[in-house]
Structures are given as C-alpha cells and as structure tokens.
Amino acid sequence: MTPPALTGERSESPAAHPRTARAQAPPEARRRRFRGLVTITLFLLPALVLFTLLVLVPIAVAGYTSLFKWNGLGGLPTQFIGLDNFTRMFGDEIFLGDLWRGLILIVLSVTIQLPLALGIAMLLNQKMRGRAVYRMLFFAPYMLSEVITGVLFTMILSPDEGLANQVLGAVGLESLESEWLGNPSTVLVSVFIVMTWKYFGFHMILYLAGRQGIPKELGEAASIDGASAWEQFRYITLPLLGPTIRISVFLSVIGAIQLFDLVWVLTSGGPIHSSETMAVTMFQFGFKRSQVGYGTAISVVMFLISLIFALGYQRYVLRRDTEGAITTMRDQR
C-alpha cells in the first residue's frame, strides 16, 4: 500500500477527498497524512516564497503606487492622488501615441512578419538542399540579445557609413536613402524591420514544429485527388496549423505590447517620441524623470491591456484548441 502522500493521484477531485478521509482516519493514516503535508509544504514553500516576494508583491505594490504622486525616494509613497495618474495618461499625447504605435507594430507583425515566417517554414518543410543549414541560420538572430541586435542595426541603419544606405547608393537607389532611425516618418518601420529580422525565426520554428505534427497521408491523399500545392496548403495545412498560428499571434502581440529592449537600444524612443513604446515611456518617467507614481500607473495599464487581451484571446480565439497556450490554465487534464 502506498501512503496517501505518494498516491500520484491525477486530478480526480482533490478537494473532496481529504475531508472525508480525515473524519474517520485511524491514527496510523493520520500520521502518514501529516507526513504528506509536511513534504508538500517543504517542497512547495521555497518556490512559493520566491514567487510571492518577487513577482506577486511587486505587482501588488505597482497597483498601490500607481495611486500616488511619488518621486521614488524614501520608504513608501505618501501623496495619495487617487486615479489622477490614470486620467493624466489619457490626456498625455506621448502615452496615446504609444498605444497607436503599439497597434501599428502589432498589425505589421501579424500581417507581414508572421506570414513571412509561415512561408519560410513551408518552404523549409519541403525537400531541399541545405534545409537544416537554413533553419539554423534563420533562427540564429533569435539567439542574439536585443542589445546586440540593436547596436548592430544602429550601425547598419546609420545615415552615413551605414550598410543600408551604402547598398541603396551602390545600386542606384540614392533616392531611397534615409536617416532610417533619425527620421520620424521612417523610424517605426525601421524598428519593425529589425524586430522582423530578430523574431521571425522563432515563429518559423513554431510553425515547423506544428507542420511536423500534420500527417503526411493527408497531403498525399489530397494530391491523388488532384489538389494543387496551393489548395493543399489552403485547405489542409493552414487549418491544421490553426492552433500553432493562434499561439504565435498571441506571443507576437504580447511581445509588441511590452516591447522595450530593442527600442531602447535602437532609438530610446526618439526622435521626438516617434518610436516610443509604453514600456519606454514608463522607463522614462520611472527612472529618468523621478515620476515613479506616473511611471507605475503606465506599467499597470500595460499589464491590464496584456491581461485583457490574454483573457479575451483565450475566451474567443484559443477556446477552439483542445490544448494550447494558457488554455491549460483553465482545463486541467
């Protein structure tokens, strides 16, 4: 017989079971139950303490601090101003601009970056020479830190000796040369190009993994029935990749909402805020301008936007998937 602690029981109503057992448990069983509880506590406590102290507490503190005007010095904020930080935000052109720019980056990612990654994944899924090398190559930028990527592209996009303008000049397209990162009208697109360079390989890997889960027989059967390559992709591969695509869109949107490192290194949000994101604005106010209360309020809004998006996405988009990102939270097997 196994002691109750080590039942290895799956999710069969864990809540109902202990109460009835405790009522008529003989002393021997009670002692074992106690030992089980000790084990559970000892194994769970370290992770729980660390998580509470450094993840949950800061989130709670953020909620609290966002209601104050605070320069970040001294023990705790004292000047309570209610929701003023939040109302201020919705009259703050920089913040409203952040929302707009975030939306642009999301739309560009979903309509350009992800289809590109999907296309390449489909190509690399076919038999072709050097497939493994290409896969490794396309994924390599994802391994580089945002800072290295950012610094590299600051140089490539720099107006004078930058590679981008040099190439354009060499092929006779001087008219397209630009101060990529220095010009408010091109900076956001430039940031997006760098994002694509860095992240599309990650999405490609997800699609490749998803594609490998689709049985070959389906394609073969369709091809016998006379389906063209495009029809096979459109009516077989694409629908069956649905769960992967939905997850990849989710990760891409969340990443765009919380984008910081790359923008900070490339432009610090400039020129004149034209590439600023919510996270950059938050950092500016919190660490550079000593308006910690306002900065924290921005991070709270950023969190709420992510949360609402995640819950809505889970409710309306991911619910179709039997198993996928964050659905596991709800339906435990």
Partner: protein
Amino acid sequence: MNTHRTRARRSGVLLRSVSLQTLVVVLGALVVVPLLFALVGGFKDTAQLSTNPFGLPSPWAPENYTDVLASGVFWRQILNSVFIALATTLVVVGLSAMAAFVFARFAFRGREALYTLFTVGLMFPFTVAILPLFVLVRTMGLLDNPLGVILPQAAFGLPMTIIILRSFFRTIPREVEEAATIDGCTAFGFFWRILLPMARPALATVSVLAIVASWNNFFLPLVIFTDPNWWTVPLGVQQFSGQYVSDTAKVLAYIVLAMVPALAFYGVAERQLIGGLTAGASKG
C-alpha cells in the same frame, strides 16, 4: 497520361522549385549580410567602412578584435554573465522541480488554485513589474549585488519552468513510484534518486531556456547594476557602443565577440532549445 502534359507539369514544378529556392537564398542573405557586415567590418578601420563598405578589408586590421580580447573588461562581463546565468538556472530549476513534483504527484486541497497562481505569473514579464521590483530590491539592499538580478530572474522564470516540468513528471508511470515506495523509498528519496534522474531531458530543456533568458536579459541588470564591475554582456555592449560611438569598426568587433558565446551555445544545445521553445509555447 498525355506526355506533353507530364512534361509541362514537370518543368512547371522545376521552375517553381528553382524560384522557391531562390527566395530562400535571398532571405538567407538578408539574415546573413548584417552578421557578415559586422564580422568583416570589425577587421576594417572606421575610415575603410565608409570608403570600402562591401569589399574585404585592406589592410586587415585585427587590432579591433585583439584589443577587446586583451581587455579585462570584456572577460569580466562574460564571467559575470556566466555566473548570473548559472546561478539563476540552479535556483529556478531546483525550486521549480520541487514544486512541479508536488503539483504532479500529490493530491491536496488547493493544488489547482496554487498551480493556477503560478501559471498566471506567465503574464508578468519584467517590463510590467520593473519599477516596484527595483524599489523592492533597493529596500533589500541588493542593488549592485548579483542576487538582485539572480533572484528576480529565477522568480520570473518559475511559471514556465514549473509548467514544463510538471507535464513531464506526470508522464512517469505511477508503477515506478509504487515500486520505489514498496522498497522503502521516502518521498524525498523518490524525488532525488528516481524522478530527477529520469527527468534529465526535461531538466536539460528548462535549464537551457533559463540560461538563454538570463544571458540576454537587459532590462533588469540595467536598473540593478550601476557598478561596472557587475555589468553583464548586454550592458557592456550598450556601454561600449556609447563610448566608441564614432569608432564603428571597434564596436562591430565588440559585438561580434559578444555574439560568439550565444551562438556557440545554440550550436551545442540546439535540440533542447528548440524543443523547449516549442513545448513552452504550446504548454505555456
């Protein structure tokens, strides 16, 4: 079948496969060219970069690279990054394995609620919590202390690590556990001597993910470390590029050398990394 049609079809297929191949090559070039530009550019001097952007360096100037390699600062940053990555991994994988063991193999009231609490943590990246986290770390007196980066990194890594490990621990058959218990194995004995060795592939996967996340982390060290002695590679790269803003070639050499550990690690741990990322995305 009509031979004409077959031939036409075959040449169509050939044409398409050639054009697709070309497309892949072009896209591959777009990925490689920036990296090659950095690698080759590091061997030029900055004047050459603008007069001779595409050709090979003439003369080759290895000083940019050798200067970096000879500087203690660069190695110090590598060492800091390695130390912080390893310590973070040890903490996050150790604590997550213990918690995942309980979540996977014990039944108790409130288990699912606690587990959900951890999974909700996936929604909080550093970005959202950075200001209060900074204040907290400052209150604990851990600014300019590696623990000020290691512990928060480990804490934020817990959700993903616990999720991946729990689902792996659940696949280990119950019979293994029963046999161990009959042989007089305690819960801890089972965890330490049987479960962990069996879970080696999953542990490798989550360790690789933790190492990469720590290695590339920028935001947290940026606010915690003001003392250059603790700077990690990303901070060093940012600082160096600011200091030598007009000496492009020097900066290129620096970032190329800073890329090497990450790319080498990718070469060694590709399988775990890709497996972990796809598992993380589909289970997270």
